[in-house]
Symmetry: C2
């Protein structure tokens, strides 16, 4: 189901019901970019904490443009899942002058990738659903309520009292400046004639600026009791005041009330997609993603709260917002799956799970929902969410085959799934495959890793030759003149280091942990 600002409100109940009835929910997001390398590349030897810090600084300025959600509920009789996939287009169109006008980053290669997959940028920019974080929503609500209060005050008798000025600078009317007097008098005359002679219901005053509108409000409210004023926008977005005849105080209140209610409803609309994320959070349901760390970070940051600086705070915030997360990429790379799954890229995983020893879970789609069984649309977030959920359903069932007696169906809340709970896959990381939201992270020894600097014309084989007496190495280039080098044979760490320490002439070698502490020192400067 494609969801844009056009049909979002209409579908909100369906979405809410689908979430409530789900036994688990899969999701996926598409971004305007992945990594701003100014912040330092992710490295294979990063601790989970270092990785978090780099992603937080280097990835959050990119934007989620598409959010795929697929709810799965199990039909016990038919022995199959009912899946409801939603493909949301989201975009922070500033809905009013007070609303935040977000700046965001794009990465050319990501944009290029998305268009090559048929992503429709015109649609997302035109019809994307807006959103506000709770903080943005509250700020806007406060602004509106203060404005309403202020206007109530302006139209109250206290305001029109000649002693108004004594109450303090905030309370009194503004003196009409000399150069505005004839303009305001003209307006008053125009309204007098309209009230006495015109048969029209309403009168549009000439376009004027905010200060002039303010003067008009205070003067007219003071002089006429049977009129209602409302700012309107003309064709060219220029603003003017519309004057309407009313029967009296009663109708005035009603009209003011209606106007204020409309303003509140406008903010409610602007909360938009954040409502879905709030529902997800409040449901407490199991959320499944594939390689989901960035998705989780963006979802919280864009729709909930700015991510905290401290890694431990991020862990507790995430557990609080999404208490149950499972990452299918981590599952695929872990026992007992890993031996049967050569490549864990989503498309390959899907294929692998279609054959023995696995059995793809059966899925059915209610009417009105895209039948993704027959429609391969990789990199459409809704489809990717569906495939992720399908892979999860199939993999968890596979865990049942080791039971005695074997079970066909494993519930998502089964203890068999527990070992995978709240562990988020870490991309390209050596020996620390996941971030553990449930407690302390794994640690890994990095004694076999060195940081090297060397002349600009060096190539990979210059480096490998240096180490040749100590076995093969893996090289991770940092830039033209620096690299991290890891020995395959860890037992040679000490001998290699001692050897090269002596040899060094046009290069330097440093233990990885010494490099980290010195470069952290630099960063904190």
């Amino acid at each position: 189901m494609e969801v844009t600002r056009t049909n979002f409100n209409e579908l909100l109940d369906d979405i809410s019901n689908a979430i409530k009835q789900a036994s688990f929910i899969a999701f996926d997001a598409e971004f305007t970019g992945l990594e701003d390398t100014k912040q330092g590349h992710a490295l294979p030897f990063d601790t989970p904490e270092e990785r978090y810090t780099k992603l937080r600084k280097g990835s959050l300025d990119f934007l989620v443009l598409q959010f795929g959600l697929c709810t799965f509920k199990y039909d016990n009789k038919k022995k199959r899942h009912i899946a409801q996939p939603f493909n949301f287009y989201v975009f922070p169109k500033p809905y009013s002058r007070q609303a935040p006008d977000r700046r965001f980053m794009c990465q050319s290669s990501s944009i290029d990738f998305l268009v090559s997959q048929g992503f429709d940028f015109n649609k997302v920019f035109c019809e994307g659903i807006p959103y506000l974080t709770p903080t943005q929503e509250n700020t806007l609500k406060d602004t509106i309520e203060q404005k309403h209060l202020l206007h109530a005050q302006f139209s109250s008798p206290a305001f029109t009292s000649p002693h108004g000025q004594d109450i303090g600078p905030n309370k009194g009317p503004i003196a009409i400046p000399d150069d505005q007097k004839s303009f305001i008098n003209g307006i008053v005359d125009q309204i007098s004639i309209f009230m006495e002679k015109s048969e029209e219901e309403s009168l549009n005053l000439p376009v004027c600026n905010g200060f002039q509108r303010k003067l008009i409000y205070q003067t007219v409210r003071n002089k006429f009791s049977a009129v209602h004023l409302e700012a309107k926008k003309g064709e060219k977005k220029d603003r003017y005041i519309c004057v309407t005849k009313i029967s009296g105080e009663e109708e005035m209140k009603m009209r003011e009330g209606a106007k204020q209610a409309a303003e509140r409803a406008e903010i409610d609309d602007a909360v938009g997609f954040s409502k879905v994320v709030r529902m997800l959070s409040q449901s407490g349901k199991l959320l499944v993603g594939h390689n989901m760390l960035l998705d989780v970070m963006h979802t919280i940051n864009q729709f909930h709260f700015p991510l905290p600086e401290e890694y431990e705070d991020f862990k507790s915030m995430t557990k609080c917002i999404f208490p149950k997360l499972v990452d299918t990429k981590l599952m695929a790379q872990t026992h007992p799956f890993k031996d049967h799954i050569p490549v864990s890229v989503l498309g390959d995983l899907h294929k692998t799970l279609s054959f023995k020893p696995f059995e793809l879970a059966e899925v059915e789609f209610p009417k009105g929902y895209t039948n993704y069984n027959d429609n391969d649309k990789y990199h459409e977030a809704g489809y990717d969410a569906f495939v992720t959920g399908l892979c999860f359903a199939s993999m968890k069932n596979f865990l049942g085959s080791f039971q005695k007696p074997p079970k066909d169906f494993v519930s998502p809340s089964s203890p068999l799934v527990e070992p995978f709970m709240n562990k988020l896959f870490l991309m390209r990381n050596f020996e620390v495959p996941y971030m553990n939201l449930n407690g302390a992270d794994l640690t890994a020894n990095r004694d076999h890793v060195f940081h090297m600097t060397f002349p600009k014309d060096w190539k990979s084989n210059d480096i490998s030759n240096l180490f040749s007496a100590h076995g093969n190495v893996q090289i991770f280039w940092l830039d033209d003149t620096t690299a991290l080098v890891a020995l395959y044979k860890k037992e040679n760490s000490k001998s290699a280091y001692d050897d090269l320490q002596v040899q060094k002439s046009n290069f330097t070698i440093q233990k990885y942990k010494d490099f980290l502490s010195s470069s952290n020192g630099e960063k904190n400067k």
Copy 2:
């Protein structure tokens, strides 16, 4: 004429000719955003230098997505201009793994504005013309040349000598690691069979990684003389080597030469739209823009050189790249135009110039070019460039009406245009209407301007009431608790300041120049 990567190379000669024949050229650009407010808002009291610094820090991360160019040449017989408008879509698609993968900023409201004007983002992202600055181009060329040198070396006899290792780590072949030996032997066998028995012209080796490809290159070159190797990309962008039978050394050189030429041509293609900007610069022609400061800054920064930190360097760089610039918005707001032109927004200016005392210049379009006379497409860069040029043509002719005897036609190089030369309009700036590239900038007295801080609940009238004894004020909010306040009656500057100095309880007041020096101090921390 719409120009995308599809027809760009084809049109390059036409564009070059149009530029060469032009008597002046108008241009306009569309950006992904205008201002990153993190860097501090542009203020009405900014000096040109302060404005430059703010724009440089706050605007250059946005991207030019569309560049409109319209050349005008005068047909003396027909007494009208021939205009050739080009509407270029540009996008920095990374053309290879070595090419820069640009990160850029977008502003939601600008994106929203562009889609509301019908801007086609899918088209620009898919078919945008790429570009490289001269520095990027040179870096890429160096990389390629170094690679070619290296490969030449690898296939030379020196390389295959057993003493290769003595020449230094960079020069020798890599030892084949144990775990790669059987893979490489397999490849050698495969090629032997292919060379002896196969009737096919070429053989595709299995997909393998860069290190394996390197080993294959060095081994195969060493063992076979009648083969040519070339890396190719498979469907899924995975890389494999294609082996072709060749007649001998001669054909080998030819094929290598062809491959290298293709790689050089690829870079030349990637220079793309920068070629047009280089032509513009080299033409030395008069360039006309409407409110062109940001356009000029972006054009230089995106296609030529990163803008310098120092304002004076920017001025000289700009004069060197674009020696003759005229801004129609500045003209419209300057004597003798200003009295006849109430609104200088491009569309309004165009309308105003269609009536007495002005006379719209006549323009004709060659075949194949959009007839913009009948097609109002505001905010398409090509159209805006055309209208800008049209307004310039009409305004310069108007200057002729004051001559004795009056002249219908004024040449763009006439001394009458000279007073407007190299002065770039400054938006929303008080009393310093332009940046002067020809010399020192105007200065303005800011003694009547104050910086104030106050409690969060203050509104504009709290501030104006404070100053009421000294006349009206204009207020420029900086944030919730600070504002700049300017007196209308400059002669009251001293009395107002002295008065409020004494009164102040819950607010502070500071002279603008003191505020600047203290806040500059903060920024430089």
